[in-house]
């Protein structure tokens, strides 16, 4: 058998021993990981399988339920509330992805180009500290900001002489979903993963070799050209990661909607996550709620796969 050679200058790889599956060592390993595997199976995989199974039942969450085949799925695709919720979440996702890609990136670029790490530190801290503020607090603050009577937003508009634009942001059919999805100004930290996005971008920018910046300087490439020709291609992985995490995170979201509008007025800000919650815990239709959950999971998986392929293609192109 030929020995594996280490590349020159690197230490030799550790020798690995092949362990037979039925050996006492393997049995010991299996015993050691068994509790973790059991917990994983009970608390992660069983609920998923149970949800898929119960999605074929008319089930109230307590009794055994009645098998109804694909009826829940049939109802789901003809349910007008689900239709509205799907359109709403689409708008929500697009807005959140745009916000999480652009604003944290701008903040990261500003910090990165400050030059000295000492000068950058306070800004980094400033943008990172809000991450520890509980989401509920952020939401309640935004509920106040959107308050039609005493809210800062309407007051600010009036101050600017644009009082005509002031409105009941969360109570208006035309603005409710956009108000909920657009909260978190200046969108660098706060709701969701945008705070981490800024840190990810910054780490990636700091990982760009200084020689490349020197080359840009020699060639007279700066500003927008440097951003689009050098920086963005080199942090594309981070951009994809943030976009993917935002999509996954946002598609399942319902807490901001529940706290701010309860899905209203009417169903103007209803999202699938909240509808799933209401269907299960208010309407006692756990079977139908499982069907909504299964479809949401399938959509998420498909999007993740699609985005991963895009990512791979982009990488091979660079």
């Amino acid at each position: 058998m030929k020995e594996r050679q280490a590349p020159r200058g690197l230490p030799a790889p550790m020798k690995t021993r092949r362990v037979r599956f039925a050996s006492p060592q393997m049995v010991l390993c299996l015993i050691q990981v068994a509790p973790a595997l059991a917990a994983l199976a009970v608390f992660r995989y069983f609920p998923v399988l149970s949800a898929v199974w119960h999605s074929f039942f008319n089930w109230n969450g307590f009794d055994e339920g009645r098998f109804t085949g694909m009826a829940n799925y049939g109802e789901l695709f003809s349910d007008p509330v689900m239709g509205t919720a799907s359109l709403n979440i689409l708008a929500y996702v697009v807005i959140r992805v745009a916000l999480n890609l652009v604003f944290p990136l701008l903040a990261a670029l500003l910090i990165h180009h400050l030059g000295s790490s000492r000068a950058a530190y306070p800004y980094k801290a400033l943008f990172t500290v809000p991450l520890v503020v509980p989401t509920m607090v952020v939401l309640l603050v935004w509920k106040f900001i959107y308050n039609p009577h005493d809210g800062i937003l309407n007051r600010f508009l009036s101050f600017l002489g644009a009082g005509a634009l002031a409105r009941d942001w969360l109570g208006d059919f035309g603005t409710a979903i956009y108000a909920v999805s657009g909260l978190g100004f200046p969108w660098v930290t706060g709701i969701g993963i945008s705070g981490f996005g800024m840190l990810l971008y910054l780490a990636a920018l700091q990982g760009i070799p200084s020689e490349l910046y020197d080359a840009c300087a020699v060639d007279g490439v700066s500003g927008a050209r440097r951003l689009f020709r050098l920086e963005l291609p080199l942090i594309a992985r981070q951009l994809y990661l943030v976009a993917l995490l935002t999509v996954i995170n946002t598609l399942q979201t319902y807490v901001p909607v529940m706290v701010l509008t309860s899905g209203g007025p009417g169903t103007a800000s209803m999202v699938p996550g909240l509808y799933l919650y209401l269907t299960a815990f208010s309407y006692d239709r756990f079977g139908y709620a499982c069907a909504i959950g299964v479809v949401m999971a399938a959509v998420l998986a498909a999007l993740a796969a699609f985005q991963s392929r895009l990512n791979a293609r982009a990488e091979s192109a660079t």
């Binding site: 039609p148 109570g171 208006d172 309860s262 007025p265 009417g266 209401l278 208010s282």
Partner: protein, 494 residues
């Protein structure tokens, strides 16, 4: 000297011999006394005495503590422990059920009659009927304990099996609070009819005020109260047809008790209760008519927001429940005099469906002070003491100051002498009877309630007209009826 010493010694010995059995007897009595020490655990809900916290904007209730001290003077062997208050809602209901299931419930509990009626067959609660026939020793000249209560206490507390497991002694209710200064400036007077109500609001609007802080976000109290009142008045002539009887349906003190859920479902199936019926649509039409005078942000305004609008003088009226009575009275934000009035009566001037019947009350014997006794008190040896303590607390001499100290939830007692004048109207209103048919909140299914509410909001926002909205609601109503038939196995309903 020697003789004297001997005599003294003999006397001492004699005394010792006499004192010995006396002392032994005393020790035995003390031991028996100690053995008789009884500890009662009580869940007093809002009345739970506590110290003022930094976040409190007014003094918390303490009167029950005072009563305990006074009671202990005459009952030194009875110790009373008040359990800490648990937030109402699902958290409390879960606690209540689990404590009874585990046999660890308080000797004296506090719960809504609807929850008791759901669980009375489980043998958890003591039937209070025999004790209610006995005299309350703390009420002079009382022959039967039950005689001190208003009739609604006994009727609401009577379970479907005819036994009385609950004494719902607290009255819940609602009132429209109005800003007297704004009314005066606008030249508006306190309305009693719907027409006067609309006229008063027009005057307020013309004077530049927001007439009403209606609120539809979060808990749907305001819209549910309105629709229940309007429906009870405007469907009055049809209620018996819906129920399937020929005689009239009298108002009681139990919300929605006139038409059961099964009767309502049968009426939907028969078409006697239908959203396509113009009489059914009338409350929605009036609601829309009224919405012209609401705070424009009514869709995002919640109960607290509406309260703030009123108390800071930004809206002339708000509809609130009895629990806000003390808050309004003591709130330092309020810089004006206020008054209350009942929901106005819809007369023929405003609707052809009016029969002239006055608006019903919202509420009933559902305020705090809904006492029950754990059936396990016999085993614990705390039964008699628990009943005696309840008799002591419910004696008007003790109960009225306790209510005044809390500042809300009116007492369900016949003798309400010295009751705070702010609570008096609620006692009167509830006794005239509450709404007879529940169709909005718990009447059909929760899903129907949500769908109805969402469609109504679209109608109020002008995104759907009345026929469109009603057609959609009819669809939801039929679905809810089908679901309930299937769920309950009501095969006799076609």
């Amino acid at each position: 000297m020697k003789t004297r010493t001997l005599a003294a010694g003999a006397a001492g010995l004699a005394l010792l011999l006499i004192a010995q059995p006396l002392s032994a007897r005393g020790q035995k009595d003390a031991a028996q006394e100690a053995a008789k020490q009884i500890k009662i655990r009580m869940y007093a809900s809002e009345y739970t005495p506590r110290a003022r916290a930094q976040s409190d904007r007014w003094d918390p209730p303490t009167y029950l503590d005072k009563l305990r001290g006074e009671y202990r003077k005459t009952h030194p062997n009875v110790d009373i422990e008040f359990l800490p208050k648990i937030p109402s809602g699902p958290e409390f209901d879960t606690w209540f059920i689990t404590q009874f299931k585990a046999g660890n419930a308080p000797d004296i509990g506090n719960q809504l009659f609807s929850e008791i009626n759901r669980n009375y067959q489980k043998g958890w609660f003591l039937d209070l009927s025999p004790y209610l026939e006995k005299p309350d020793p703390y009420v002079a000249g009382n022959a039967h304990w039950k005689d001190i209560f208003l009739p609604g206490v006994i009727s609401t507390g009577t379970a479907p099996d005819g036994k009385i497991y609950l004494l719902p002694t607290g009255i819940n209710g609602t009132a429209i609070f109005y800003n007297k200064a704004m009314f005066q400036k606008a030249g508006a007077s306190v309305p009693t009819t719907w027409k006067e109500f609309m006229e008063a609001q027009q005057k307020l609007k013309d004077a530049g005020f927001v007439p009403f802080a209606f609120n539809m976000n979060g808990a749907r109290y305001c819209s549910n109260w309105t629709l229940r009142c309007l429906q009870d008045m405007l469907m009055d002539s049809k209620l018996n047809t819906i129920k399937g009887i020929s005689g009239p349906i009298e108002r009681t003190t139990i919300e929605g008790a006139g038409v059961s859920q099964k009767e309502l479902v049968a009426a939907i199936k028969k078409g006697t209760y239908s959203a396509k019926d113009p009489q059914w649509q009338e409350p929605m039409r009036l609601l829309k008519e009224w919405s012209r005078y609401w705070d424009p942000s009514f869709a995002s305004l919640d109960q607290n927001g509406a309260y703030m609008q009123f108390v800071t003088g930004k809206a002339a009226m708000v509809w609130m429940d009895i629990s806000r009575v003390k808050q309004v009275a003591v709130d330092s934000l309020r810089q004006f005099d206020y008054g209350t009035f009942s929901f106005p009566t819809v007369t023929k001037e405003s609707s052809p469906y009016s029969t002239g019947i006055a608006a019903p009350a919202i509420g009933g014997f559902t305020g705090d002070g809904e006492y029950l006794v754990d059936a396990l008190t016999e085993k614990r040896g705390t039964r008699e003491a628990s009943i005696d303590w309840l008799m002591y607390v419910t004696a008007p001499e003790h109960y009225i100051p306790m209510v005044n100290d809390l500042g809300y939830y009116a007492p369900g007692l016949k003798d309400a002498t010295n009751l705070s004048p702010a609570l008096e109207p609620f006692v009167q209103a509830v006794q005239k009877g509450v709404f007879r048919m529940e169709t909005y909140l718990r009447g059909l299914t929760v899903k129907y309630a949500d769908q109805y509410y969402q469609t109504m909001q679209e109608y109020l926002a002008g995104r759907k007209d009345l026929p469109q909205a009603c057609e959609e609601i009819q669809k939801y109503m039929n679905q809810a009826a089908d679901d309930l038939v299937a769920q309950n196995g009501w095969t006799d309903i076609r």
